[in-house]
Subunit: 129 residues, 2 copies
DNA sequence: CCTTGAACCTGTAGTGGCTACAGGATGCAT
DNA sequence: ATGCATCCTGTAGCCACTACAGGTTCAAGG
């Protein structure tokens, strides 16, 4: 009967993080032995795998929890999943855009330092209100 | 004599955040009135502006503090600034790469939901260990 | 059986970078 | 004097963890 350590190895989520996910209500706590140790069945480990995969894809914990709920509803419409995934995809696109802008500004800043000046033009740029 | 509110308006950093930056040692606290109110001179506001600009460019607070220190050292070599900025630029590049990968994986997931299935292939993909 | 060490438990605190609030004080205008 | 905006310090919460303290359980080896 897999303990939390085995669930951690099976899911790729650290033991402490699994406990945190339970506390935070992301996943239900599994049944326990008489001595209080957690016992995971295949469904329990599958839940953790789904959460892990969602986190790897950058979904927030709230989103991951929602997707888990959808997956455990036997007549889950794909439409709901699509809404969550598309929202997240749009957000990732926005972040990429913002980082590209940031990259350009930083590149400009680095170029200003190219000459190894002692009175740093980059710092002057930064201090400009 | 500008108070913290005016410093906030001049720098674009919220009052509460300015107080936090002081507590966190990012900027020195300014002189006070007899009643304990902060009083900002132009150098104090300039410091805040530099920190704001650094944060806008995605530098961590630690990096921002380092850049501020460099800016207040009259013989600051541009080389040090360049090292910090280039490190950060490389990190931004990595983040863009990671987000692009993420975007591709999410796009695949969304496509799997395109047909409005009830037994969601995307969820099946997510649950795969 | 005893010992040892790994893994388990709960609860708490800390990380980074804020943000909001409580409760009280100050300053200015009416 | 009153009212309101702004100031003060201290604390707590957000998100998603991560680490630790102090204690218990379990399995392997002598």
């Amino acid at each position: 009967m897999p303990s939390i350590g085995e669930a951690a190895r099976g899911s790729g989520i650290p033991v402490e993080t699994i406990r945190y996910y339970e506390r935070a209500g992301i996943v239900p706590g599994p049944p326990r032995t008489l001595s209080g140790h957690r016992v995971y069945d295949t469904a329990g480990i599958a839940r953790l795998c789904l959460i892990k995969r969602c986190r790897d894809l950058g979904f927030s914990l709230a989103e991951a929890r929602a997707l888990l709920a959808l997956s455990e509803n036997s007549d889950s419409p794909c439409r709901d999943v699509k809404v969550i995934a598309e929202g997240h995809l749009a957000e990732v696109g926005r972040k990429i855009g913002a980082l590209r802008d940031l990259e350009a500004a930083l590149g400009e800043l680095v170029r200003e330092c190219a000459e190894g000046n002692t009175a740093c033009p980059a710092l002057r740029t930064l201090a400009r209100p």
